[in-house]
Subunit: 167 residues, 2 copies
């Protein structure tokens, strides 16, 4: 028989249809709470390091995405960079001014503009990447590769469960 | 010998001191990116449901915390509710107006005010909790208790690695 995780978090106690309370689960066993704390801390740390080089988290996320894809639309970029379209629009204006990206109207539909990274943008991202990768390593210090693999697999399933976009 | 996770994410390839690039890791294997997407989606969904009952995510987090602790300071609440002190201050003003919380100056240090939940606040949180718990269940649909346990354990270790507060 499958081991039950304390019987009260993902499933109500055997034979009960009652939901456990927040107090019964405990904040420290409530994954959305822990993920919010981790993400807020990670973003704050990253943002602090970026400020020193005149960048923002949204800018570096945008460059990260564009560095590994031939081109993307503003709609795709706002989903992948986890930001509002309006913020992404301002971010792209600023990145274009910095010479880090280029926007090209699509030949068959001029309303759509394909965003690509420039060589300068690639260099700017590559210059920041070591700091980003090292803070990622620090985050997962003491965590084995096998555990990391499972962690990623669970995150993929969660995203599948809650996402509203097709990509 | 320990199995290596593809050799390129948490550790450089054997015998190499070079960092893998973002492209080599891939966005879908980069946990900070996946966590940002999950948290943003979760918060947006929650926020939408809360709007209907005149609440915000910060308000409901504050009530959740106060529902399981005898009292907390504004400093503790802003860490646990993952928000700026200034936002927390405004949130407490509004929750007090709604009759959901109470602030009491501490007898031995009048500068510190202990925040406690009222019966009305507890009832408001309990009324929303079923929706919150059910969206939590949906989030972890198809994930086994044993996996959830490991997921929580990894989140605790990450938080330990990156946090700046003592609580």
């Amino acid at each position: 028989m499958k081991e039950r995780f304390s019987g009260t978090i993902l499933h109500p106690p055997e034979g009960s249809a009652k939901r456990p309370t927040m107090g019964e689960i405990g904040l420290n066993n409530f994954a959305p709470y822990l993920m919010n704390r981790v993400v807020a801390r990670y973003n704050a740390n990253l943002s602090e390091e970026l400020k020193a080089v005149g960048m923002t988290t949204v800018k570096v996320r945008t460059l990260a995405i564009l560095s590994i894809t031939p081109s993307a639309t503003i709609n795709e970029l706002s989903v992948f960079a986890v930001t509002e379209q309006s913020t992404m629009s301002r971010t792209l204006d600023s990145l274009e001014e910095q010479g880090y990206i280029r926007r090209t109207p699509r030949a068959d539909d001029m309303r759509i503009r394909d965003v690509t990274i420039t060589e300068e943008g690639r260099a700017a991202f590559e210059a920041f990447w070591p700091a980003m990768y090292d803070s990622f390593l620090q985050m997962f210090q003491g965590i084995e590769e096998e555990e990391y693999k499972q962690f990623i697999s669970i995150l993929h399933r969660i995203l599948q469960n809650i996402r509203k976009h097709e990509f």
